[in-house]
Structure formats: C-alpha cells, structure tokens
Symmetry: C2
C-alpha cells in the first residue's frame, strides 16, 4: 500500500462523500473512485458501502481508517524528524517541546531553566497546543517531546515519566455563593443552574452535545467564567495568574491530575534525553 492510497482512503472515510473528498485532495472524482476500488480489490474486501444515500464505512473500513491514520502520522513524523535532524547537523540544533497552552506554566518555566543550565543544552522550541493536541503533534513529528496531563491526555504509545501530581479546583465567578466555601464536591459543580461546564473539542475538532458553551482554550474559558456563563474544574496550578473576577475552590473528590513528560519510544535524541533528565530532577 502506498501512502497516496492511504491519504485518499482517509479523505473519503472522513468525508463519506467521494466528490468532497476529491475536492479536498485537489484531484477530480474519477481517479479517486478508481484508487479506492483498486485498494479494495487488492485487499480483497469492501471498505465503503455505497448506498443510494451516501457512503458508510464497513467494519474493515473502520479498522483501516484507524490504522491508516496511525501509519500516515508515522510517515509524516519520519519526514519532519529527518528534516529536523538535517537542520541540527548544519548548525542550529533545536528540540521541539509541546505543551498545553495555559497549563503547567510554572513547571514549564522551571523545566526550561533547568535544561538550559545543562552542559550542551540545545535551543528548545515550545509549541503551545490546544487541549489534547499534544499527543497528535508528538505522533506526527511536529514535536519531539511533550508535557501531557493524565487522565485527560492519552499517553498510550509513548514513553513517559511522571513529573508532578496535583488536585483540582473549581473556578467560579467571584461572588458566587459556592466561592466562599472551603471546598466543594464534584457533583455540586457539575450542575450549577446557569453555570454549565463548558464543552471542549474532540480530537477531530467537533464538539460533544450538551448545554455548556464551546471553548477552545484557556483564555476563552476564563472569560466565560468571569462573565458568569460557565464554571470549570481544572488542576490547581491553573489557578495562578487567574486575574480578577474569578475564585478557585478545591474539589477534593475530583481525580488527581498528573503532569508527565512523554516522548516517542524509539527516540534516540540526546536533547530529548537531556530534557527528560532535567524534568525528572526538578
């Protein structure tokens, strides 16, 4: 199987429409039909059910979609990491670290300082991601190492070291009745009248159904809470630098959040190893 075929299949499987998929791929529809047909013939199975009412995935098609995404990520990563290695050899070595925007700010700063103090430390490019995007950028090679947060982020497939565990706090508009309490239970925060928990995007960019407002980053979240339109439960470390208008109340029964440093298991980069060493020594 060629990566071109995998790209084509993923496009059709995501759009569930040959015409739109072809448009997205920048080709016309007939070659796309032929490519998918050829793939099905060689695999000896039907991947897509062409009904009169659009296209649906078969079981084998669903498996291939999952596997093809992983394979394409690996190919992309190969290209990016090779390019990065070539750059490193010609004089400007750098390592790319992915972190969630607005999380673990203090830990990140300490990590960068500690690593910079090491012998033969190289430049660290920091890529700030939306929630849940770090694993993706680590898989497709945009980053060499990432800070993830269990249990929110999926650490499967990476080597990891735990760095820090903390409890969670509820963030409420200042002056809210609950904000004076020494602590609250998760259930109490879950359905406050008029203050729903916000909805975060899924990995594919869509939002789950529900009453809460859609948010994509930490700034949107704090603004919405300050406006009295939502509340949230976030790791303790997120409370620092919250600004006016917000109050934080511990939520003892919310699951602990562990910040971990993660890297691709076959990584052989000394820079990544140095960052991990610096992080675990914090």
């Amino acid at each position: 199987m060629e990566t071109r075929e995998l790209r084509y299949f993923v496009a059709v499987a995501e759009e569930l429409h040959f015409g739109r998929a072809a448009q997205r791929l920048g080709i016309s529809q007939p070659p796309l039909s032929r490519a998918i047909g050829g793939l099905e013939r060689r695999l000896g199975t039907v991947l897509l059910e062409r009904g009169s009412r659009g296209v649906t995935l078969t079981g084998a098609g669903a498996v291939l979609l999952r596997e093809a995404r992983a394979a394409l990520d690996a190919v992309e990563a190969a290209e990016r990491r090779t390019r990065r290695a070539a750059l490193a050899a010609t004089g400007s070595p750098a390592v790319v670290l992915a972190a969630k925007a607005g999380a673990s700010g203090e830990l990140l700063a300490k990590l960068l300082d500690a690593y910079a103090a090491e012998r033969d430390a190289v430049a660290v490019d920091v890529v700030l991601c939306g929630p849940g995007e770090q694993a993706q950028v680590l898989r497709n090679g945009r980053a060499d190492v990432a800070l993830l947060h269990r249990p929110f982020d999926d650490t499967a497939g990476f080597d990891t070291e735990d760095l820090h565990t903390e409890g969670q706090v509820a963030i409420l508009p200042a002056g809210h009745p609950l904000s004076a309490r020494p602590h609250v239970r998760l259930a109490e925060v879950a359905d406050l009248p008029g203050l729903p928990l916000p909805r975060w995007p899924r990995p594919d960019g869509t939002f789950p159904d529900g009453p809460g407002p859609k948010v994509r980053d930490h700034t949107q979240l704090t603004q919405l809470i300050a406006l009295g339109r939502a509340c949230a439960v976030i790791p303790e470390s997120g409370r620092i630098g919250l600004g006016e208008g917000l109050a934080a109340v511990p939520v003892p029964d919310a699951p602990d959040v562990t910040t971990v440093i993660a890297w691709p298991p076959h990584s052989r980069s000394t820079a990544v190893a140095g960052l991990v060493r610096a992080a675990t020594a914090l």
Copy 2:
C-alpha cells in the same frame, strides 16, 4: 513521501550498497539511485555519504532509517489488520497472539483456557516467535496481542498489563559441581570455564561477538547445555519440562522477570480486550 521511497531507502541503508539493495528489491540499480537522489533533493539533505569505500549513513540518514522502519511497520500493520478484519466479518473471526517459543508455557495454556471459557470468545491463533521477535510482529500487524518478558523485551510503544513475576535459575549440565548448590550468584555463572553463556541474535539477525555458541531457540539451548557446551540463566518457569541431563539452580541476584501481556495502544478489538481481561484475572 511514498512508502516505495521508504522501502528503497531502508534497503540501501541496511545493505550500504546500491547494487545489492537493488537486487534485494528486485529492480535494477539506476532507478534506485534516482529514487534516493529524489528523496534527498526533496528533503533538502544528504542521507547517504557515497565514499569511494562504500556507502555510509549521515546523521539525518540514521534518523530516517529509524523513522522509516517504524512507518513501514505501521503501513504493514494497517494492511494486515484490515485483511484480518475482513476475514473476521465473513465468518471466521480470530485473534493472533504472539509468544516466545519455550517460555511461559504453563501461563499460556492457562490463559487460552480461561479465555476460551468466556462468552463470545473467538479462535486464538498462537504465533511462536524467536526471542525478541514478539514486539516486531505486534508492530507490523502479524499479531494482535503478545506475551512479553521484561526486562528482556522492549515494551515501549504498547499498552501492557503485568501478569506474573518470577526469579531466574541457572541451567547447568547435570553433575556439574555447581548443580548441587542451593543457589549461585550471577557472577559465578557468568564465566564458568568451558561453559560460556550463549549468544542470542539481535533484532536484525546478527549475533554479538563473544565466546559463547550461537543459539536461536530454546531447544538448541537445552541441547547445548546437555552436551556440556554452555550454561544459561533463564526464568524459573523455563525449568519445567527440561528433561534429563540438566539441573536448575536458583540465582537470587539475577533480575526478576515479569511476563506482561501487550497490545497496540489504539487497538479497539473486543477479542484483544477479552484476552487481556482473561489474562489479568488469572
């Protein structure tokens, strides 16, 4: 990057010789030179140093070799798993379990029994591998789930559950002076005159240098020991069914061996989940 280019590059990087690589790929040498040249041009870097004395990898080339192998494994896995899913849909569902030949025999039997007793259990094909091959077959999709042995096998990149931990024993020819001892130290076994530790193949099939005989599987090992040509240190559970002519002596200071069940992190198969459940419940 197309998988064809990656396959070509891996072949050259492994052979370090364009002619032999072309032969292995079943094409002639000129198109191979052109393909590699094109890859280097598009990546904007030199991957292979063509010296008068053969070919060597550059730094970027070494990175690409590692990443390309991973990517090709992922593509292969996509193809195999899709084929398997298609088979499963047409009536003969099966799950493939990889285990090291000659290890954990008892545990494997109990696992298969326990799983077979489950509701809607499917057929389990067992693939017996040489030492260290399980991770490879799991990565490239020949197997869906595997039994690995830490610290010997590399579990990086997989989800795992620990099943069983045990100590190690030295296997000696019956009648050897040490065989009467209640236990021995690792260092004592390491350099017995005339009884060297055998050499196991590396993942790429070559053997490390050293005095010991080359062995590829458990049978060869036991024969060599019975012949008085080698000794070995293996997990306790390997002593059962040793047969005549061999003695086992505990080695308390050898590292413990943990048998784990491992599967690809994005696996969604209910059969794999069932096997894992059965295994952890043992």
